[in-house]
């Protein structure tokens, strides 16, 4: 089981802040596709989001395992 966190506009579009996918290991690119399929109303924001694994930005080719913290980060707007 991999836990994935959503933030800001993505959290509102998906209607939840934590999503669990029943996999032990998945590439970020595939995780992106699975999330977009699970939350079609949030697919557009997912497409524009960065992914963080263990609090570092990660690329689509990287793997996430069940021991990692994964999060989708919509475009940031702090400051």
């Amino acid at each position: 089981m991999i836990s994935v966190y959503f933030f800001a506009g993505l959290k509102e579009a998906a209607g939840q802040e934590k999503w669990e996918i029943d996999r032990e290991e998945i590439s970020i690119g595939e995780l992106r596709r699975e999330a977009a399929a699970a939350f079609p109303e949030a697919a557009e924001v997912i497409g524009r989001s960065m992914m963080a694994v263990n609090e570092e930005f990660a690329s689509d080719s990287e793997l996430v395992t069940s021991s990692d913290n994964a999060a989708f980060l919509p475009p940031v707007s702090g400051g």
């Binding site: 933030f7 475009p75 940031v76 707007s77 702090g78």
Partner: protein
Amino acid sequence: MEEKHLFRVMEEPLSADRIQSLVASPDAGAVNLFIGTVREWTKGKRTLSLTYEAYVPMAEKKLAQIGMEIAEKWPGTKTAVHHRTGPLEIGEAAVIIGVASAHREAAIQGSSYAIERIKEIVPIWKKEHWEDGSSWIGDQLETSRYDEGGPDID
């Protein structure tokens, strides 16, 4: 002990005095403080209030990374950044950056670098509340706003 206070994301009101004291040192000849505040009017549209949300552990890590980048680019500088989360009123400080250096140029340039980097790599988001609704701001250039649950409008 002190280092962990330098880069923080918090719900409490921010203090410029606190930031100044965090970066102060006898070697410094300058402390540049940048305070980002909540603006009421943007391109003719009135903001009533803002709400900031953060991925706190990553945001504090990325703020510390920015501090290290500044120390590499301008050796001898010391940086502190506090960013607020939760609901903010017009005029309140959303972010305060302090950079101390021996001479003023590094402190001024370091602060400017910090606010640009915050808008690029720190996972903090703001939601604008207007008279006619609200929306998460989509990116730091404020050009790709997206409506709640709706399609991309760009």
